[in-house]
C-alpha cells in the first residue's frame, strides 16, 4: 500500500453504497422512543451463521445500515434492541434471558430469520428448545432463510424512521 494509493483513497473515496429508496414508514409504537437512534446487541442463539453473514452485509459498504442511525454495540446495557438469530438451543436459553434482563427499558426484541420465528429447518431437533418467541417477547420479525439485507434494512429503518 503506497503513499500515493492512500492519498488517492482520501481525496477520491469510492462509495459502494446503494441508493436506499423511500422511507418505509415508522413502526407505529416502537419508533417513537428511539428518536432516530437505534443500538443493537446481537445474540446468536443457535443459528447456522447464514443470518450473521447477512447482518454483516447489511452493515457493510453496499447496504450501510449505519447511515440510518443504527449501530451494533458490545453490551446489552448500551442497547435498545436485541437482535436474535437462530432457534434457541437448550444451552442458550439462560444466556439469552440474562441478556434481555440486562437491557434497560424501553427494549425491543428483533427475531431475525425463519429459525428465529419458528425454528425453520431445525424444528424438533434434540438440542432446540424453541423459537425466540417461546423464550422472549418478540416485537419485530424479519423472515427469510436467510433474510435479504434489504429486508433487514427495511425493518431497521422502520424503527429509526429514517
Amino acid at each position: 500500500m503506497t503513499l500515493r494509493s492512500v492519498l488517492r483513497a482520501i481525496a477520491h473515496p469510492q462509495l459502494a453504497t446503494e441508493d436506499p429508496g423511500a422511507t418505509p414508514g415508522a413502526h407505529p409504537v416502537l419508533a417513537g422512543p428511539l428518536h432516530g437512534s437505534l443500538q443493537l446487541r446481537h445474540v446468536d442463539a443457535g443459528s447456522c451463521n447464514g443470518c450473521e453473514l447477512e447482518v454483516t452485509s447489511a452493515f457493510g459498504p453496499v447496504y450501510d445500515a449505519e447511515r440510518f442511525g443504527v449501530r451494533l454495540v458490545a453490551s446489552p446495557r448500551h442497547a435498545d434492541a436485541l437482535l436474535v438469530t437462530g432457534p434457541v438451543t437448550k444451552n442458550m436459553v439462560g444466556p439469552l434471558e440474562r441478556t434481555f434482563a440486562a437491557m434497560p427499558e424501553p427494549r425491543i426484541v428483533i427475531a431475525l430469520g425463519d429459525c428465529a420465528r419458528d425454528c425453520g429447518v431445525f424444528r424438533g431437533g434434540y438440542g432446540v428448545e424453541g423459537a425466540v418467541g417461546d423464550v422472549l417477547p418478540v416485537d419485530v420479525h424479519i423472515s427469510g432463510c436467510p433474510p435479504h439485507p434489504e429486508a433487514i434494512i427495511e425493518a431497521l429503518r422502520g424503527l429509526t424512521d429514517r
Binding site: 459502494a16 449501530r71 458490545a74
Partner: protein
Amino acid sequence: MTGLAQVSSTVLMAFVQIAVVAVGGPLLLGVMRKVRSRLEGRVGAPIHQPLLDLRKLLTKQRMRPREASWIFGAGPVILVATAVAVAAISPLATTRPPLGQSSDFFAIVLVLLLGAVFLALSALDTGTPFAGMGSSRAMTIGALAEPALLVAILAMSIPTRTSNLPALVRIGLAHPSVIASPARILALGSFLVVILAESGRLPVDNPNTHLELTMIHEAMVLEYSGPDLGLIILGESMRLVLLLGLLVNLFLPWGVANRPGALMFVIGLGALALKVVVTGVAIAVFEVFTAKMRLFRLPELLAGGFILAVLGAVTAMAAR
C-alpha cells in the same frame, strides 16, 4: 468595565466556551465517524447522529449493579464536571479566559486526571471482571503517559518561563519563533502520542471494538446505561475536544482572540472549531490506516513519547 459587567461577561464567556465544547464534542465524534465511513467506502451516519444518540439515552432506564456503592453514580458526573471546569478556564477561544490567572497547565492536566481516576474507580465498583481489566489497562497506560505529558509541559514552559496556559498561547502568538523552535516541535510529537493514549484512539485503543478482551476504555463503561452512559460519552468527547483544542492553540495559535471584545471572541470560537475539526479529521484518517498495537508493545510507544519530551526539554534548556 464596571465590576458587575466584568463578572457577568466573564460568566457568559465561561458558559459559551462550555456550551461550544459540550456540543462540539459529540459533533467531532460524528465527523470522525463520518470520515472513517467515507474511507471505508460507505456513506455513514450523519454528523449529528451522536447528538441523537445522547438525546435518546436520556430517556432510557438507569440501572445500577446490586452491590455498587455511591461511586458508581458519581463517576460519570465527575468525568463531565472536570471537563466542564477545564472548558471554562482554558484558553480555547481567547487568551483571556475566565480565571485565566490560575489556568495553569499542570493544574489542568491534573483536573482531567481526576475525571479519569473516578471513571476507573467506578469501573472497579461494578464488580465485573471486564471492568477491572479495563481499569487496570487504563491505569497502566496512564502511568506511562503521564511522565511524557508532564515533561512535555516542562519543555514548553522553559522558554516562556511560565506554565500558565493563556500566557503560553499569548507568547506563541507574539513570537512565532517560539512555536517553530525544535523544543516545541519535539514536545508536539510527545503531546500527540499522549493525546492518542489518553483519549483511547488507535493505535492505543480501538473505540469501535466489540471484543471485550481487546478493550481498554470501552471495557470500563460496559455496565452503564441511560443518562449515565450519555454523560460518559459526553465527557469522553469533551475531553477529546479539550485536548485537541489545547494542542492546536499551543502549536497553531493564529485565530485565537488576543483582544477583548465579543466579535474577536466569536472569531476565536470559529478558528478553534476549524482547527479542531481539521485535527480530528487527520486523526480519523490516521486511524483508518493503522492497526491496534499489542497491549504489551504500548510501553514502547509511550516510552518513545517520553524520550521525545525529554529531548524537547533538553533542547529548550540548551537554547536559553
